[in-house]
């Protein structure tokens, strides 16, 4: 009943030794050997991040900078706007925003964070997509921009209601930052990039650290009594409760941002009638969907029983029909809710909150209710 595969060519983050020393149970993830949990266990790790502060190694993610050859930030912003449906030009210095790289068909190549660092843009992309993302940027923006990857930097996230108090001891400016503020800061005397953001729905920070100082700073943060290391298992249950997409599962090249429920991330200036409407890959399809609706949408699902309903499970309109109308793209158990939760896709006409649909689980139809997300309220410091 237990898988024991151990691929041998996995990459390691600068915090690999620290994970091993702290009892991390290592698994392959996006080509890296990563901790899925520590001795604490997924359930307690999850609850600790909601109650105090959790520390996550996300060094496998890709960090890049984008600079205009002209030296003007607005040229880099306008260049990036060809690849994302977001307003990058209006992104103020020291601010960050959520974005997606789209393709010609309006599908999503990856989702990412973009920060304005004054004279350049700083991007954080998913581990599994980072090589393709770099190639995509080079293919489209080489004429106007200098694209640099930052493999010499680690990335950690400190998340939870105590994150600000903890980080204040190492970085006095941290508590004054607002949600989605981002920029260079000294943390324990180390030159870091800090953003007030994360992937848990909690208040918290992401901290980019030079590789050679990552272990010392992480160990110092973990010495704080409120901080526990958190593995990928709880990272997934935390983001699922927060209603946040996992790329490659809840969104991918077959889903548009509109189908993915990400309209909120597309600013007015890029929509029909906006100052810089369209002009990004797949804009015809995406603008049409913004104006006229999408055929399907990502929704939250609450199973009525206790059984978790996981990725890939088919959804049906009733208990007997033979043709599925959608599927679950992420699902599991929400430790803070104490109940199973899921997200998936349904035809827009059958996706209203409160609609009952049926999941086919081990030959049985299990009722689930379409539910608003997040399942657990966000607690960002806006």
């Amino acid at each position: 009943m237990l898988a024991t595969d151990k691929p041998s060519t996995l990459k390691q983050t600068p915090l690999h030794a620290l994970h091993i020393a702290r009892g991390g149970k290592m698994v392959p993830f996006a080509g890296y050997d990563m901790p899925v949990q520590y001795a604490t266990g997924v359930l307690k790790e999850h609850l600790h991040a909601r109650a105090a502060a959790g520390l996550f190694d996300v060094s496998h993610m890709g960090q890049l900078t984008l600079r205009a050859k002209s030296g003007k930030l607005e040229d880099a912003a306008l260049a990036l706007e060809k690849l994302v449906p977001m307003d990058i030009l209006a992104l103020a210095p020291g601010r960050q925003r959520y974005a997606q790289f789209t393709n010609d068909a309006g599908g999503i190549l990856d989702d990412l964070m973009v920060a304005n660092f004054g004279d350049h843009l700083f991007l954080v992309v998913n581990a599994a997509c980072k090589d393709e993302d770099e190639a995509h940027l080079r293919a489209h923006l080489t004429d106007t921009c200098i694209i640099e990857t930052l493999p010499d930097r680690a990335l950690i996230a400190l998340q939870g209601p105590k994150a600000a108090d903890v980080l204040a001891k190492f970085c006095p400016e941290a508590p004054a930052m607002k949600f989605m503020d981002a920029g260079p800061h000294q943390v324990n005397g180390i030159a870091c990039f800090v953003s007030r953001s994360g992937y848990t729905g909690e208040d918290g920070y992401e901290i980019s650290i030079p590789n050679d100082q990552a272990e010392a700073l992480t160990a110092a943060l973990l010495d704080h009594p409120d901080v526990l290391p958190i593995g990928l298992g709880a990272r997934d249950s935390l983001r699922l409760e927060a209603g946040l997409c996992l790329y490659g599962h809840d969104i991918d090249t077959t889903t548009t941002p509109v189908e993915g429920g990400l309209n909120w991330s597309i600013q007015k200036s890029r929509r029909t009638g906006g100052a810089r409407a369209g002009g990004f890959l797949g804009s015809d399809k995406i603008l049409a969907q913004l104006d006229g609706g999408a055929p399907r949408k990502r929704i939250g699902l609450l199973p009525e029983g206790r059984a978790p309903v996981r990725e890939g499970v088919l959804l049906f309109a009733d208990a007997t029909s033979t043709k599925s109308i959608g599927s679950v793209t992420s699902g599991g158990f929400g430790p803070s809710l104490g109940a199973p939760i899921a997200m998936g896709y349904l035809p827009s006409a059958q996706a209203a909150d409160g609609t009952t649909v049926y999941a086919e689980l081990r030959g049985q139809r299990m009722p689930m209710k379409v539910s608003p997300m997040p399942f657990v309220p966000h607690s960002y410091k806006r």
Partner: protein, 121 residues
């Protein structure tokens, strides 16, 4: 009473022709926090190696196989209300189901405690 073990990390306690089945402490430690257990219905005739129960942690679902052929004569309803019993008392209170032994010879290939300990070492 004799306790035997499978390579799939189930334990069997043999009491006459009734066999109580659970998962081992090693198995629960590998699974992590158990949040849901689905048990077979009483009266179901299980064949050896057939998927009989499902145990779900926060991370994943795992099948529990029937270690021997037999009819389900009792299930542990306590697991529905308190799946975490599997983590706290895998070898005891968290038994899954009881089977009526159909073919004694099926017990011959199973491991004793020492052999199982070596298997998980």
């Amino acid at each position: 009473m004799t306790t035997l073990y499978t390579e799939d990390h189930e334990w069997l306690q043999i009491d006459g022709d009734v066999v109580t089945v659970g998962i081992t402490d090693y198995a629960q430690s590998q699974l992590g926090d158990v949040v849901f257990v689905e048990l077979p219905k009483v009266g179901r005739a299980l064949k050896k190696a057939e998927a009989a129960a499902v145990v779900e942690s926060v991370k994943a679902a795992s099948d529990v196989y029937a270690p021997i052929t037999g009819e389900v004569v009792e299930i542990n309803d306590a697991l529905a209300a308190e799946p975490a019993l599997v983590n706290s008392d895998a070898d005891g209170k968290a038994w899954f189901f009881k089977l009526k032994l159909a073919d004694k010879s099926e017990l011959e290939g199973l491991m004793d405690a020492d052999a199982y300990k070596a298997h998980t070492a």
